[in-house]
Amino acid sequence: MSEYRLEMRGVSKSFPGVKALDQVNLKVRPGTVHALMGENGAGKSTLMKCLFGIYHMDEGEIYVDGEKVEIGNPDEALHKGLAMVHQELQPVPARTIAENMYLGRYPTKKYGPLQVIDHKTMNSEAKKWLENVKMPFNPKGKLGDLSISQMQSVEIAKAVSQEARLIILDEPTSSLTDNEVEALFRIVRDLRDRGVSFVFISHKMAELRRISDDITIMRDGTYVGTWEMKDISDDEIVKQMVGRELTNIYPPLENKPGDILLEVNDFTSIHDKSFKNCSFKLRKGEILGFGGLVGAQRTELMEAIFGIRHISSGEVKLNGKTLDIKSPKDAINNGIGMITEDRRGTGILGCLSIADNVSIASLNQYLEAGIKLDKKKIEELVQENVKKLSIKTPSSKTLIQSLSGGNQQKVIISRWLANNPDVLIMDEPTRGIDVGAKYEIYQIMIQLAKQGKGIIMISSEMPELLGVSNRVMVMCNGKITGELSSEEATQENVMYYATQF
């Protein structure tokens, strides 16, 4: 038997303009759980996509049980004994558990010329495999009736039924409760003891410690190293994850935080896997950064403050006054604006003009006789913003979808400037934007803070978080785990709190 169940050697992958993976290695021993850790964008998902042939790697070799393999697509990977349980499961919830397990490979029987699905065999086989992972569900039950963790178990059972010898779990615990995590770990340990290997992608240090035998750390698309879990401390892991030079240049933070502007007390989501008991304060003229890893529930918390999501408890005070926010409209009327993370999905009005996109949140200000919109005034507003934020567009009538990402983002920022909020929440304000436009957006943020506005910035880019924030809050798993002044805010500190809960 070979020393490694899976060995990836020197894997490199480039996308236009970016080197996503540079000589990355991954060696998984048989019958072990192998943690794969790294910051957002470290290249974990890209590496897995190369393994499953979803991306074609530029360089590198893959060995399964010592035998060199070429994998062109996920189906081929499955035949080599590799299976993946995705972060976002992609089952068919309206059909039965058995049908989901045998999707695309239904057992059939023949009635003369007719080939029909053999339900009896399918159900009994499914039952057998479910019992194999000690999950005695009724295979005829609807998959959609199961919880997410139970669906994961079904996916694992499916992988085992396909004789998978290595199963990748991509952030399997991100939406599970403690009890469900325990149940999942039981299955993983059981299968591990029977010789199945796991690659476990997660951000949660404590969990990884409990379940993993080995750990591989990646950073910015490069391979940092592999350790046995018992040989490496938490601090050392954090250090290895972030150990980069900060070279990016940011505009000087000339804004001076003043009195308390916004107070958020004890915010708890109606969903028990989301944010819990979050409290923080924002000052006038302050840029407050929110750091954390994917799934830390930062977006959810901010969207709840803005009235998009529901809370079971908590209060928001603006200038000492308690607000009652039930919808974005209430938040806007009270002087809170929000630039959402998903620009395409919840930001731009794609088939409308720039003028419409800028003015949509502030049309009340441009009414003549209470009913007619003053188009001249709107045009002035748009032109003013186009100039102030140097939005590159042929005209205000241009459709927003024809602009570049950076210019679209500036249009969305204009939408909120027109509304003149006291607090502006910016969720990943520079995602998918080129470097030049990023710098301009930082300048706009600092300018706004200098005018006394409070800005909350969620950022998953560590340098940006440290470079543009006056203060940094760190979240992990729905809780605020740390508050760092700009002096204390180092990569190591942020990462330390981002993996604690």
Partner: protein, 329 residues
């Protein structure tokens, strides 16, 4: 240079294919059958178009917000029948509502508008608050309204309408029918709403990206309710006009008009994907549809075949509309 010009022409043909095709047809008919281009026939076309434009204006708001309204035609019928019942001559034989007081015609109009508006309001509530897909919600309303209409009229046709009703709906100012003016007024009001009011902007925003609109503080539920309510008000007006124009009618008044209106909007460039649509397009769409019907008639095409032609036009128009959308990706 030459090449890019060619591509432009091709694009224009694709984007307006149906209209170009019909323009050719109309041109052909006007040359071969001179009466087609007579003022009389044009006026006839306008009279036929008026209630249809008014219905299409109502439906256009639903379409722009990615909805639809299948109850339009039956609401037209209900409004027409109610107006007919309230405006029958006092001495009409077999008067259905013999004891109904003689009301001013405009009061009657307001009553039918109010009744339909309530039904439209219910449509809006069902679609925005109960989140029933517009197709299903308004399909239910279509059946409900037809049922109400049957109950009220007992499926008996209504005739013997009051003279003032006939005057208002069939009268002329000089050579031009009043109906033409109603069309212009309705279109002008809608044009103003779509282009110069918050409501109009919110409507396009919801069609463009409903979540983004909501995040920008647009009350999407309220906006949709207003759209469905005002649409129903338009159907009421159209029903009133149709009843008077025909001088009588029954429960089948307006049947199928919702589909004609949706088709006309689509031909006129109101996108089935939402967010796009102009008043001028709605009018052009109805005009194209009416011209098609009239042209086929003048060519002596059997009326049964005309349905086939109309069906083809609808499918082709929507296929071309979708093509535009795909090309954008």
């Amino acid at each position: 240079m030459d090449k890019s010009k060619k591509i432009d022409i091709k694009n224009i043909l694709i984007n307006n294919g149906i209209i170009v095709l019909l323009a050719v047809l109309v041109l052909y008919v006007s040359i071969t059958v001179p009466t087609f281009r007579s003022f009389r026939n044009l006026m006839n076309l306008a009279i036929n178009a008026a209630p249809r434009v008014i219905i299409a204006l109502g439906v256009s708001g639903c379409l722009i917000t990615k909805g639809t309204d299948l109850s339009a035609g039956r609401m037209v019928g209900l409004s027409g029948c109610l107006a007919g019942l309230m405006l029958q001559k006092t001495d009409a034989a077999g008067k259905l509502w013999p004891n109904f007081p003689v009301l001013n015609i405009f009061i009657v109009l307001l009553i039918v508008i109010a009744i339909c508006a309530v039904l439209g309001f219910i449509n809006g509530i069902v679609i925005s608050y109960l989140q029933v897909p517009a197709f299903i919600g308004t399909l239910g309303m279509q059946l409900i309204v037809y049922g109400i209409c049957l109950v009220i009229t007992g499926a008996v046709p209504i005739g013997n309408l009051r003279a003032d009703f006939i005057t208002v709906t069939q009268g002329k100012l000089g050579p031009i029918s009043y109906q033409f003016f109603y069309l212009i007024i309705a279109a002008a009001i809608f044009w103003f709403i779509y282009n110069y009011t918050r409501h109009g902007k919110y409507m396009y925003a919801i069609g463009g990206n409903e979540t983004a609109a909501e995040v920008s503080g647009v009350n999407t539920k309220k906006t949709k309710i207003i759209i469905y309510t005002s649409a129903a008000a338009m159907y009421a007006i159209a029903g009133f006009l149709l009843m008077g124009k025909s001088g009588g009618g029954g429960v089948n008044l307006g049947q199928g008009y919702e589909l004609e209106a949706i088709a006309a909007c689509t031909i006129g460039g109101v996108s089935v994907n939402g967010g796009i649509g102009k008043i001028s397009g709605v009018i052009i769409g109805v005009a194209v549809f009416e011209l098609l019907k009239s042209a086929l008639q003048f060519l002596g095409v059997d009326s049964n075949y005309q349905f086939i032609a109309q069906g083809i036009v609808i499918v082709v128009a929507i296929a071309l509309d979708i093509r535009k959308y795909i090309a954008k990706k």
